[in-house]
């Protein structure tokens, strides 16, 4: 929505991470379009001249990569150096020049030569196939130089800026420098999109689904309020004082003391979502009380074959060692849908989100999961962390039983399940007969409850964990755990089995209060969210949280639920949240 004033333009999107800044904007260049097939060399250009421009463009791309390699370290540096070499590689450049000599335009020639080389690498399979992406990246960059357009990557600028994009991809995180990019605004995407996840993990103020934002001019000064979801041009005194007010408030929200609890002393452990050893160390520094979600895809993504037992053990150990004596919940491989893996998932499925993903890959490719569990058990045996394991995308009690049996066979004592599919929430009682705990993955639970693809901007309002239907499924899961405990034959298990939340919902301080009131036993989130969530939880008693939770579940809409709860939490406004 664009509201035009005299000169001030106001864009309203969905705020996905709090914070207020004023800075110039830079546009993310659009993906490079393919030069049209059959594009001819201009008759006025001699082929030798065109060949020279290709060589020069390759050299310029090589220099860019070498400059980057000089700033990088370790394995990243080696990859950049090898990629630099590709930009002037005789095989690529000679093939392009051959096409130019046959009358093809330089851009099209580089495009086709790059595809031929990439195809050759893909045919070789294994580690070679992985390098085909680097060849295609180099190709795009050479074509961008030939066209005189910016490379399809996050722009570089001397001063900090607000990045404006259609949407960001997971790969953009790697090149996003949070000292340069100080806020994110996207025209597309929703609250669960990759942009939102990147913003929360880097702690960047962000507004998504801000339609019309692409019309802003590069370098234009704007005000962004990531809590309100507002972007405004021509910032004045009011916006400047809003920014300074935010800077004061946010200093109160920088640390978590390591004990999650409510105002009446009810304990609610606050854990971290991590994706590898480095994350785990940062989470431990942030005083997370354990890991509520270890995403194990980091071991697998980018691999065209299954990693070895030894590599997996080492990777898991790195995480476990950051939390001696603390709980670490490992989610087994969650491939499929937006996280395809060549050796596990079928990219031709018509509905990948409803396809063979998560635990279901054990049906089509048995063995990978059992080997992963063996590696987790081996890593757990060498560290002091309390290791729990859970399977993603469980739909039925019988799947839960099969997973528990695999865990037992591997020697892992605490099996659990993710509750992401509505059927699992509604049959939690029977599922918890088979496993020891459940963890609500609210991102996927929302997408499946609302039947709305979480990557689609136009569906952002459906894809909102505040939707009362989603909250009702959280409630149903907790009630299932209570019913299971009551009907369990054994008296010693009369306490309900733990039901935690490890989705993005746990990182929203107001929603965290609702989840506490619904009876969840732990909240796991990106470590950056810990201080704000902890601060707000301490302002309410369990009884108050229960009242707010019932108001939210009973609300007619997501917006009404949010408003009702916010109205009951004056601390939010005091803290600028």
């Amino acid at each position: 929505m664009i509201v035009k004033g005299e000169t001030v333009q106001n864009f309203v999107g969905v705020g996905v991470f709090r914070g207020r800044v004023i800075a110039p904007i830079r546009h993310m260049p659009p993906a490079l379009a393919e030069p049209p097939a059959g594009e001819k060399l201009a008759s006025s250009t001699p082929p030798e001249t065109a060949a020279a421009t290709i060589k020069a463009a390759g050299t310029s791309v090589k220099v860019t990569f070498l400059e980057r390699a000089a700033r990088a370290e370790g394995a990243g540096k080696e990859v950049l150096e090898a990629t630099a070499l590709m930009a002037t590689d005789p095989m690529l450049i000679k093939a392009a020049i051959k096409l130019v000599n046959a009358g093809t335009s330089p851009e099209r020639a580089v495009w086709e030569a790059g595809e031929t080389v990439a195809q050759m690498l893909r045919n070789l399979g294994g580690m070679m196939a992985e390098r085909s992406h680097d060849v295609l990246d180099v190709r795009s960059r050479i074509v961008a130089v030939l066209r005189g357009v910016p490379a399809p990557e996050i722009p570089d600028a001397a001063e900090p800026f607000i990045l404006v994009a259609e949407d960001l991809a997971p790969a953009d995180t790697a090149t996003l420098d949070p000292t340069k990019v100080i806020a994110l605004v996207t025209a597309g995407g929703g609250p669960q999109s990759h942009t939102a996840i990147i913003a929360r993990s880097l702690g960047l103020p962000a507004v998504v689904a801000a339609a019309g934002i692409s019309a802003l001019t590069d370098g234009e000064l704007v005000f962004v309020d990531g809590a309100a979801g507002v972007v405004r041009t021509e910032p004045g005194a009011a916006e400047r004082s809003a920014v300074s007010a935010w800077e004061e408030q946010s200093s109160l929200l920088t640390t978590f003391d390591g004990t999650g609890q409510l105002a009446d002393g009810t304990l609610l452990p606050l854990l971290a979502n991590v994706g590898g050893a480095k994350d785990a160390q940062e989470a431990a520094m942030a005083n997370a009380q354990g890991v509520g979600l270890l995403r194990t895809e980091f071991c697998f993504l980018g691999n065209s074959t299954e990693p070895s037992h030894e590599d997996q053990v080492a990777a898991y150990q790195g995480v476990f060692e950051a939390f001696p004596g603390k709980k670490v919940v490992v989610r087994t491989l969650d491939a499929g849908a937006d996280k395809p893996l060549p050796f596990l998932t079928d990219s031709t499925e018509p509905n990948p989100a409803l396809g063979v993903r998560g635990y279901r890959t054990d049906l089509t490719t048995p063995g990978v999961l059992a080997r992963q569990l063996a590696a987790i058990a081996a890593a757990a045996a060498t560290t002091e962390a309390q290791v729990w394991v859970m399977a993603p995308m469980i739909s039925t009690a019988s799947e839960a039983a099969d997973f528990a049996a695999l865990c037992t066979a591997a020697g892992l004592r605490v099996p659990g399940v993710m509750v992401e599919v509505p059927s699992a929430a509604l049959t939690a009682r029977h599922i918890l007969d088979q496993v020891e705990f459940a963890s609500l993955g609210t991102n996927d639970l929302t997408q499946y409850a609302m039947a709305a693809d979480r990557q689609l901007g136009p569906l952002a309002t459906l894809n909102d964990p505040w939707q009362p239907a989603v909250l009702a499924l959280v409630q149903a899961t907790v009630e299932g755990a209570i019913a299971q405990a009551k009907h369990s034959a054994s008296l010693e298990t009369s306490l309900p089995k733990p039901v935690g939340v490890c989705g993005e919902a746990a990182a929203d301080p107001a929603l965290a209060v609702v989840l506490a009131g619904l009876g969840v036993s732990t909240l796991s989130m990106t470590p950056r969210a810990l201080p704000a969530v902890a601060a707000v939880l301490r302002t309410v008693t369990l009884a108050q949280a229960q009242v707010l939770a019932q108001r939210a579940v009973g609300a007619p809409s997501a917006a009404a639920a949010r408003e009702l709860v916010r109205a009951g939490l004056p601390a939010l406004a005091d803290l600028g949240l």
Binding site: E78, E81, A82, L85, M86, D89, P90, M91, L92, V117, M120, L121, L124, M127, M128, R131, V135
Partner: protein, 91 residues
């Protein structure tokens, strides 16, 4: 024409880092050097200065390759390339 043989020492075979080190060194030479698996026809040899071509050979650890050049004064240069191939760059 002169030629030398070498056994690939890098555990990952001749690609990634080992290939880029080798291609870089071959690219520095005056002489044009080709590389092929030993026993394969000389027409199937590829340019030693192309990392991508080296990767396309798919030569694994322990395989023997032959380096060839028409420049008869490049014996020492070939020896230097052999040393690169016979060093494990993944160690």
């Amino acid at each position: 024409m002169i030629e030398r043989t070498a056994t690939i020492a890098s555990t990952v075979g001749l690609h990634a880092r080992p290939a880029s080190i080798f291609a870089d060194a071959a690219g520095e030479l005056e002489a044009e050097v080709s590389i092929a698996r030993v026993g394969e026809p000389a027409e199937d040899a590829v340019g030693a200065d192309s990392m991508l071509a080296l990767m396309s050979l798919g030569v694994e650890h322990g395989e023997v390759v032959v380096l060839r050049t028409d420049d008869d004064s490049a014996g020492e240069a070939l020896d230097a390339l052999v040393r690169i191939l016979e060093t494990n760059h993944d160690a």
